[in-house]
Amino acid sequence: MDGFLNALVVFANFVFLPGLAYGAQLALGALGVTLVYGILRFSNFAHGDLMAFGTMITILVTWWLMGMGINFGPLPTALLALPIGIFGAVAMALFIDRFVFRFYRKQRSDGIVFVMASVGVMFVLNGIVRLIIGPNEQRFADGERFLITVKEFRDLTGLAEGLAVRLPVAITIVVAIMVVAALFWFLQRSKTGKAMRAYSDNEDLALLSGINPDRVVMVTWIIAASLATIAGVLYGLDKSFRPFTYFQLLLPIFASAIVGGIGQPLGAIAGGFVVAFSEVTLTYAYKRVLEYLGFAPDGLVQLLSTEYKFAISFVILVLVLLIRPTGIFKGRVL
C-alpha cells in the first residue's frame, strides 16, 4: 500500500503538479491571446511583451510598496500592486490600439497585416521594457512560497516521498478557473459579450445592429491586457521575471490557444494543459514510480529524452489537430 501511495506521490510531485502549474500558467496567457484572436481576428504577437510590460509595472509598484513597508501577510505583496499593473497594461494596450491597430481596422486590412503590426508593437514593447527595467531577472516574490513543502509532507504522512505545493501555483489555478468561468459567462451570456462575438463574426452587420465597434474593441483590449498582466505576474511569482523568457513564452501560449480552438476560452485552458502535460508526461522517467509499484526496470523508462520536450509537445499538437482540425473545442477558421 505504501508503495502505491509513494508511487502516487512521486507522480504527483514531479508530473501532475508541475504539469498543472505550468498548464495553468500557459492557459492564462492563452486566454488573452485567444480573446484577441476571437474578437479582433488576429494573432497578437505582442501579447508576451504586453505580459512583460504589465508585470514590469507591477514589479515597480511592488518594490515601492515593499520600500514603504507594506505587505500582504502570507500572500505576495505583488497581488496588492497587481491592480496598478493591470491599469498600466490596459492603458498601454488602448494607446497601442489607438495609434496602431485602429488605422488598419478602418482600412479593413487583411488579418496578416494586423499580425505584422503586432510584431512591430512587440519589438517596440520589447525595447521599452528593457529600457526601463533592463534585461535581467527580477525578483519580487515575498510572502510564503509553499503551502506545504516536501519535508513537511513527509513528516506529516510518514511516506518516503514528499509533495510540495507552491502558493503561487495554487493562486494561479484558482485564478485561471475563476477567469475562464467569468469570461465564458461574459461572452456567452452578457449583452456586451454577445456584442463582441457579433462584432467578430460580421463587423458590418454588427454596425447595422447598433453595436458600437469602438466600445467592443476597447472592452476586448481591457480584458486582454488584464489577463496578460495577471498571467505575467503569477508566472513571475512562481518562476521569475525576465523579459526574454516572457517573449519565449509566446510560442507555447500560441500553441495552447490554437490547439484548444481559436477564440474558445475553454479551449485555451484545455490547450494549456495539453501542451504542459505532453511536455511533462512524455519525457518523465517512470523508473521510480514503477519501482514503488513493484517493478524493477533496468532503464529509466523514459519515453523520450528531455531534449525533445518542446518537440514532443508539438508532435502531440499536430496529432490533436489531425484528429480535430480546428482544435479541441472547434475553434474558428479565420
Binding site: A198, D201, L208
Partner: protein
Amino acid sequence: MSFLIGETMRGGYGGADILNGCTIAVDKGEIAVIVGPNGAGKSTAMKAIFGMLPLREGRVTLAGQDITALSPQDRVKAGMGFVPQTSNVFVSMSVQENLEMGAYIRHDDFSDTMEQVFDLFPILKEKRRQPAGELSGGQRQQVAVGRALMTRPSLLMLDEPTAGVSPIVMDELFDRIIEVAATGIAILMVEQNARQALNIADRGYVLVQGSNRFTDTGEALLANPEVRATFLGG
C-alpha cells in the same frame, strides 16, 4: 415631404460613380420598392441611405432631419433598420442570438417581438439554437429579416429579402411586410421578384445605372408595358 428622402445622391466605391443623382423617398406606412437590372446600383443606393457609403453629392433626410453626416450606428438609433443583400446573418451565432443582436439597442423586454418573429418564421423557432451559418439559404434570409424586425424600426430597409425563399415563405413575408407597414412603419425594399413586390408597393422606382428611370405607383409601373418588358421579365 416624405419621411425618408435620399436626394440626388451621387457616389461610388472610389472609381466611377455608381449612383448618378438618384432620388429615393418613402413615407410612413408606405412601401416603396426599387427594381432594376443587376448592377444598377440598387444596393449601393441602400447603403448610401444607410450611411455606409460616403456621398459626393446629395443628402439624406429622415423625418425632416438631415442625417447625411450620421454614422450607421447612429442611424440605427434614429430608427432605421437594414437587411443587407449578402452576409446578413452572424454565421457563428445561434439563430436566437442573431435575433437578440437585432434588439441590441433596445433596453425594454423584447421577448414579444421575438415571439412575433417566431410566429412569422416558425422554422426559426425550431432552429433557435443552431448557428445561423448552418442554415439553408432561405432560412438564413428569414433570420436576416427577423433580425431587422427585432429593432422595431420606424424605417425598415430590405435588400432583396425574398431571394432564395420559398413561395410560401415569400407570401408570408410580403403579408407581414404589409402588416408592418400598416402599423405606420416606412418600408423601402429592393426586389427582383419585382412583380410580386410592385403588387404590394405604394411607390416603385426603376433604377438604371444609378439614376431614376421610372418612378410611379406600384400598380402603374406594373401596367407600363415598357417597364414590364425591359425590367420585369415580360
